[in-house]
């Protein structure tokens, strides 16, 4: 089974490791592919990141994709950001936390992943409407490993509780979950099997946990690759 981690930051934005070092560590950890999802600044910078990911993929022999993480303040800003990046990035991640942003991300089919919806909150950050919209628009809800790793004692207990709630609701409603490291350096990256174990401990069925780290990221990449290549010209319309 091939495992993917679609949320790693490099030194192109808030990360501290180079794209090449990330790809090297990913290979050592047994991952088949990663997406370096840096914060979106402008298109030329994203172009440079793509050059770096392509070079790292060739150097280390694993799939390295170019992603972006958007950190909008409100739903209007999210729409503007999506207009700018959707046609140029392999993976589009929206940093969650604010309920309005969480909901807007779930309601927009251009979003691939809603990252850490519970971030900085005293609840899980999602309600039934969000889950229904996420299912309709094929948006995956992220379980962010870094959020667990960098919380301690009481705050970790709260983070785990909120993630467990999202896992339970996603399982009940049938929403897609994806497990990502959210790493800012190579030392925060983890073997996919370990992240699967964490989600399993939090209540996700082991078979679903495997899917959230293999088939779901793979389907996101395959879908976006078709759009970027120009083979898919509309929803459900492909050039053959």
């Amino acid at each position: 089974m091939k495992f993917y981690d679609l949320h790693v930051h490099s030194d192109f934005s808030i990360g501290t490791s180079s794209v090449s070092a990330i790809a090297k560590m990913a290979k050592r950890l047994g991952l088949a592919g990663i997406a370096v999802a840096d914060l979106f600044i402008d298109e030329p910078r994203l172009g440079k990141l793509r050059e770096a990911t392509e070079a790292a993929a060739k150097e280390h022999g694993i799939d390295v994709h170019t992603g972006v993480e958007l950190q909008p303040k409100d739903p209007e800003e999210l729409k503007r950001m999506l207009d700018a990046v959707r046609g140029v990035a392999d993976v589009v991640i929206v940093a969650g936390g604010d309920y309005k942003v969480n909901r807007a991300a779930c309601e927009d089919a251009r979003v691939d992943i809603l990252a850490h919806p519970e971030f900085g909150r005293k609840d899980n950050g999602l309600d039934e409407q969000c889950f229904a919209a996420a299912i309709k628009n094929n948006v995956a809800i992220e379980i962010n490993f870094r959020h667990v790793l960098f919380s301690y004692k009481r705050s970790r207990a709260h983070v785990l509780e909120h993630i467990a709630t999202n896992i339970r609701l996603a399982n009940e409603k049938g929403a897609k979950l994806i497990v990502c490291s959210g790493a800012n350096s190579t030392w925060e990256m983890r073997d996919a099997r370990q992240m699967i174990a964490v989600t399993n401990v939090l209540g996700m069925d082991l078979s679903k946990a495997f899917l959230s780290s293999s088939e779901i990221p793979l389907s996101i990449i395959a879908r976006n690759r078709k759009v970027l290549d120009g083979t898919e010209i509309g929803k459900g319309i492909e050039l053959v």
Binding site: R28, F145, A197
Partner: protein, 123 residues
């Protein structure tokens, strides 16, 4: 007799041996690694969870050169122990990743399969 007799195999808890690898820039001594693993287990699983997991960390199987070792746990606690090991970030000030490279039912098989050790008893 000072000690109780060994339990018969059907009464013993089933166990698993987790072969782990420590990824770090420098060498990690066993004493520090063991302390950090216990700390992570008790922090993440709690005292009762750790007791249920029946964890043993073996000093004599740890290879400091290759940074490989074995942990024994209950067969029902494999995922919990794996998750607790994922929470380890650093030993002293050295950033580390402790990764489970495989699981086996016996120590002998784990050493043979994951550490590439030759079974001399078969000669």
């Amino acid at each position: 007799m000072d000690n109780p007799n060994f339990l018969s195999p059907s009464l013993r808890e089933k166990k698993r041996y987790l072969a782990y690898e420590v990824i770090s820039d420098g060498k990690v001594p066993f004493a520090e690694l063991s302390t950090v693993i216990w700390h992570s287990l008790i922090n993440f699983l709690g005292e009762v969870g750790t007791a249920d997991a029946e964890v043993r960390i073996f000093r004599n199987t740890y290879n400091e050169e290759k940074q490989l070792g074995l942990i024994k746990c209950s067969h029902t606690a494999v995922e919990s122990v794996r998750a607790a090991l994922a929470m380890i970030q650093r030993i002293d000030e050295t950033p580390v990743i402790v990764r489970v490279i495989g699981i086996s039912g016996t120590m002998k098989a784990a050493q043979k399969k994951f550490f590439g050790e030759v079974d001399l008893s078969s000669f």
